[in-house]
C-alpha cells in the first residue's frame, strides 16, 4: 500500500451550526473550485479520515454519499471514492460561477432598493431551507 | 475463570504457604525435641516423678521443670495452629468478594460474558480447593505434634481443634462466611471484623455447648484408699480407677451404688445428708463403704475422638453449604 499524502485534509468546526457532514461536503466543493482537487483524485478513505481527525465515521460516509448524490464524486467498489470526471459536475462548477455572479448582483440590487442586511439574510435563509428541507 | 481467581488470591496464598511451612518446620523440630524430653521424663530413672535416689531426684526435677515450662509455648503454638485455617479462609473470603465490591472491580467482572453465578462458583471452587490443599499438610503435622509434645489428650478442648482434620472445615467455613458477609457489608475491613466475631462466637458456642453432647458419655468409678505411700506417689492418699488418662473429663461426684446410666452434673453435685459427713476427704473410703455410695467420673472416651471430629466437621460443612446456597441467591440481586 503506497503511502500518499491525503488529497484533502478535513477540518471540523463543532461550534458552527452546520452539520458536520455538510462541512465536509463544503470543504470538498471549495477544494474543487480552488483547484486543490481535480477530477480523478481519490478522496481519503473513511478509515484514513478517522485516523487523521477525531470524527464519526458515519459523518464521512454521509458526506461521501451526499457528494455522490450531487454528482461530484463516485464510489468504486473495493477501490475508494473518487472525484468524478462527470461532465455535469464540471458543468455545475462552472455553472456556479455564473450563479454566484447573479446572486451578488441581486443582493446589490436589493440593498440599493432599501432592504436591510438582516432582511436579505433572512430571505436567503428562508429560500435555502424551503428547498433543502426534505432530505433523504 | 479459575486462572483469574487464582491470580487474584496468589499473593495471599503464597504468604500463608510460607507461614505454614515455617510453622510446620518449627512444630517438627520442637516436637521431636519435646518427645525425647518426655521419653526421658517418663522412663527410668524418673518415671514421671523425682526419681528414686537423691541424685536422680535433682536431675528429674530439672527435667520436669523443662517439660512443664515448654507448655506455655505449646499453648501459644496450639492457638496459632487453631487460628491458621480460619484466618486463611477469612482473608481469602474477604479478598474474593468484599474487596472486589469495595474497589468496584465487580462492575468489570459482572459485565464480561459469564454470569454472576459462574463468577461466584469459580471463586468457591478455586478457593475451597486451595484451603484444603494448604491446610491438610498442616493438620498432619499438628496431629503428630500434639502427641509428641504432650499438649494433652487430643479429645480435650485445648487440643481437639488441632489434633484432627476439623481445621479444614473451619477454614472452608470461614471462607464462605467471609464471602457471604462481604456480599452484605460490601467493605473489606468491616467484613473481616464482623466475620471474625461471628466465627469466634460460633466456634466457642459450638465447642462449649454442642460438642460435649455430640456423643454419649461414659461413667467410671474411682476407688480411694489411704494405704501407705507408694513408689512415685506425692501424697498419702491414693485414688485408683476412674476414666482413662486420655479421656475428656467433665465432672465427678457421688452416686448410690448400682445406679445405671450417666447422671447429670446437677444430680451428682446435689448435696445429700450423707455427703456432708464425707466432706473430709480422709473419711471418704468410710462414707463410700457404709453409705453404699460410689465416687464416679463422667467423661468422653478418646475412642470417640473421630466421631466428634466428624460431627463437628459435618456441622461446619453443612453451614457452609447453606451459606453458599444463600449467597448464590443474594448475588443475583446484589447492587453492582
Amino acid at each position: 500500500m503506497t503511502q500518499k499524502p491525503p488529497t484533502i485534509a478535513y477540518r471540523l468546526d463543532p461550534r458552527s451550526g452546520v452539520a458536520p457532514y455538510r462541512q465536509l461536503v463544503e470543504q470538498v466543493r471549495r477544494a474543487l473550485v480552488s483547484g486543490l482537487l481535480r477530477e480523478g483524485d481519490q478522496l481519503p478513505s473513511v478509515r484514513d479520515v478517522v485516523t487523521q481527525i477525531t470524527i464519526n465515521p458515519n459523518t464521512v460516509h454521509r458526506a461521501y454519499r451526499e457528494l455522490e448524490y450531487l454528482g461530484i464524486a463516485e464510489g468504486r467498489a473495493g477501490l475508494g471514492t473518487f472525484i468524478t470526471a462527470h461532465p455535469s459536475a464540471a458543468l455545475r462548477s462552472s455553472e456556479r460561477g455564473s450563479i454566484e455572479k447573479e446572486l451578488k448582483d441581486r443582493i446589490v440590487e436589493a440593498r440599493d432598493s432599501g432592504m436591510s442586511e438582516e432582511q436579505i439574510s433572512e430571505l436567503i435563509a428562508l429560500a435555502y431551507r424551503q428547498n433543502g428541507d426534505v432530505r433523504k | 475463570m479459575i486462572w483469574v481467581v487464582w491470580r487474584q488470591q496468589r499473593s495471599i496464598v503464597i504468604a500463608f504457604v510460607a507461614l505454614m511451612v515455617v510453622f510446620a518446620l518449627w512444630l517438627i523440630i520442637t516436637g521431636q525435641h519435646e518427645q525425647s524430653l518426655w521419653n526421658q521424663f517418663l522412663g527410668a530413672p524418673c518415671k514421671g516423678g523425682y526419681g528414686v535416689t537423691n541424685g536422680d531426684s535433682h536431675f528429674c526435677r530439672g527435667l520436669q521443670n523443662t517439660v512443664y515450662a515448654s507448655q506455655h509455648i505449646n499453648d501459644v503454638a496450639t492457638i496459632v495452629g487453631w487460628a491458621f485455617a480460619p484466618i486463611f479462609g477469612l482473608i481469602l473470603g474477604v479478598n474474593a468478594v468484599a474487596r472486589e465490591i469495595e474497589q468496584k472491580t465487580n462492575r468489570l467482572a459482572w459485565t464480561q460474558s459469564g454470569s454472576r453465578s459462574k463468577w461466584l462458583a469459580s471463586k468457591y471452587i478455586t478457593s475451597v480447593a486451595t484451603i484444603v490443599v494448604v491446610c491438610a499438610p498442616l493438620c498432619l503435622v499438628l496431629s503428630w505434634w500434639v502427641r509428641a509434645s504432650h499438649v494433652g489428650p487430643r479429645i480435650t478442648p485445648k487440643a481437639f481443634p488441632v489434633a484432627g482434620a476439623v481445621e479444614i472445615s473451619y477454614g472452608v467455613f470461614c471462607f464462605i462466611l467471609a464471602v457471604a458477609v462481604g456480599l452484605v457489608i460490601r467493605r473489606a475491613g468491616w467484613s473481616l471484623a464482623v466475620s471474625i466475631l461471628l466465627f469466634a462466637a460460633l466456634f466457642f458456642s459450638f465447642a462449649n455447648q454442642v460438642r460435649p453432647n455430640l456423643v454419649t458419655r461414659s461413667v467410671a468409678s474411682l476407688q480411694s484408699s489411704s494405704s501407705g505411700i507408694e513408689e512415685g506417689s506425692s501424697s498419702g492418699f491414693y485414688v485408683s480407677g476412674g476414666g482413662p488418662s486420655d479421656a475428656w473429663f467433665f465432672y465427678q461426684g457421688f452416686e448410690p451404688v448400682g445406679t445405671k446410666g450417666v447422671p447429670s452434673q446437677a444430680v451428682l453435685e446435689k448435696p445429700t445428708s450423707a455427703e456432708y459427713r464425707c466432706e473430709d476427704k480422709f473419711q471418704e473410703p468410710y462414707c463410700e463403704h457404709h453409705l453404699r455410695l460410689r465416687l464416679i467420673e463422667v467423661y468422653i472416651s478418646n475412642r470417640r475422638f473421630w466421631a466428634l471430629q466428624q460431627g463437628e466437621g459435618l456441622f461446619y460443612i453443612g453451614l457452609s453449604v447453606l451459606l453458599a446456597g444463600l449467597s448464590f441467591i443474594a448475588i443475583r440481586r446484589a447492587k453492582a
Binding site: I55 | W3, R7, R107, L108, W110, Q112, S115, A336
Partner: protein, 304 residues
C-alpha cells in the same frame, strides 16, 4: 414502536434509590449505527441508565431493551455483544497489562487478542507493565481496550474521557472512532460537558433532573433549532411555529433559543444557527421536555 434495529429502547424507565429517583420517565430509542452522546450534569441519571443497560442494576419501573433483549433476563449472550466501561474504570491494579488481556480472553468468547495488542502497541503501552504503574490516561486506554477487543455490537461508555488530559482524551476518542469504522459498532457515551464529543456524536440525548429533555439525531437537532435575537429593542412576541427552549435575554437585548416547526418569516428577528453545545446548554438550563423522542422528518413518524 419497537424497531428491530434499535440498540437501546426504553419506555418510562425509572430507577429508585431509597428515597430519590436516579432516573424517571425515561423513554428513548437509539437507532443502530449511531454514536450517541448522553449529556447531563452529574446526578442527572446518565450512569444509572448505562448501568441498567449493562445489566448491573434492575429498573424500578418501565422497560428496557438492549439489542432487542432485556439485560436482566439472565441471557449471557447479550453480555458478549455489549461492551461496558464504568465511570470508575475498574481494573485489577496489581495485574500486568498482559494479564488483564488474558482476563478478557478468558471471559469473552469473541475476544480478539490481535486487536487488543495492536491498540496497546499503537499507544506504546508495554504489555509487561503493571497497571498501577501506568498513568491515568494509559489505565483508561487499557480499560477501554478490554471493551473494544471483544468487538461488541454496542459500546456503553460512562464518561470515558473524564479526568483525562486533552491529548489522552483525543487518543481515546480517536481509537473509539476507529473501532466504529472497523466494526460498525454503535456507541452510547455519557459526558457532563459536550466538548469534543460534539464533533463525533450523531445522536444526542440530554438528561436534566433525572429526565430526558432531548433525544434525537444531531443533524435534526441542528436543523430544527435557531437563536432568535430581536433586531430592535423592546419585548417582542416570538413568531408562530416556534417553541421556546431557553430565554437568553440580557440587558443588551432579547435573545431566545427556539425549536422551529415552520420557517421563520418575521423580519423583526435576526436568525442564527446555534452550535450543538449551545442547544444542549439551553435544554440543560431550561429542563423542559422539548424535542423529546421525536423522529427526524424523513423517518416514519412515531412522535408522542
Amino acid at each position: 414502536m419497537i424497531d428491530g434495529t434499535d440498540v437501546l429502547e426504553t419506555v418510562n424507565l425509572g430507577k429508585r434509590y431509597r428515597r430519590t429517583w436516579g432516573l424517571q420517565d425515561c423513554s428513548l430509542t437509539i437507532p443502530k449505527g449511531r454514536v450517541a452522546a448522553l449529556v447531563g450534569p452529574n446526578g442527572a441519571g446518565k450512569s444509572t441508565l448505562l448501568r441498567m443497560a449493562a445489566g448491573l442494576d434492575h429498573p424500578s419501573v418501565g422497560t428496557l431493551r438492549v439489542l432487542g433483549e432485556s439485560p436482566n433476563s439472565g441471557n449471557g449472550n447479550l453480555k458478549t455483544r455489549v461492551g461496558y466501561l464504568d465511570q470508575e474504570r475498574p481494573i485489577y491494579k496489581s495485574f500486568r497489562v498482559a494479564e488483564m488481556l488474558r482476563f478478557g480472553e478468558n471471559n469473552n468468547p469473541n475476544w480478539n487478542m490481535r486487536v487488543a495488542e495492536e491498540h496497546l502497541a499503537q499507544l506504546e503501552i508495554p504489555l509487561r507493565s503493571r497497571i498501577n504503574n501506568l498513568s491515568g490516561g494509559q489505565q483508561a486506554q487499557v480499560a477501554l481496550t478490554l471493551c473494544l477487543a471483544k468487538e461488541p455490537e454496542l459500546l456503553l461508555l460512562d464518561e470515558p474521557a473524564a479526568a483525562l488530559d486533552p491529548v489522552a482524551r483525543e487518543d481515546l476518542l480517536r481509537i473509539l472512532m476507529r473501532q466504529v469504522a472497523d466494526c460498525e459498532s454503535s456507541v452510547v457515551l455519557s459526558t457532563h460537558a459536550l466538548g469534543d464529543v460534539a464533533a463525533i456524536c450523531d445522536y444526542v440525548i440530554v438528561l436534566a433532573h433525572s429526565r430526558v429533555v432531548l433525544s434525537n439525531d444531531t443533524e435534526y437537532v441542528l436543523e430544527s433549532h435557531r437563536i432568535l435575537s430581536a433586531v430592535h429593542d423592546g419585548n417582542l412576541l416570538p413568531p408562530p411555529g416556534v417553541s421556546i427552549i431557553n430565554n437568553q435575554s440580557s440587558a443588551r437585548g432579547q435573545s431566545i433559543l427556539v425549536r422551529v416547526e415552520l420557517p421563520i418569516d418575521d423580519a423583526q428577528w435576526h436568525v442564527e444557527r446555534p452550535s450543538l453545545e449551545e442547544i444542549v446548554l439551553a435544554y440543560l438550563r431550561s429542563g423542559s421536555p422539548g424535542a423529546r423522542d421525536r423522529r427526524s422528518p424523513d423517518d416514519d413518524g412515531s412522535g408522542e
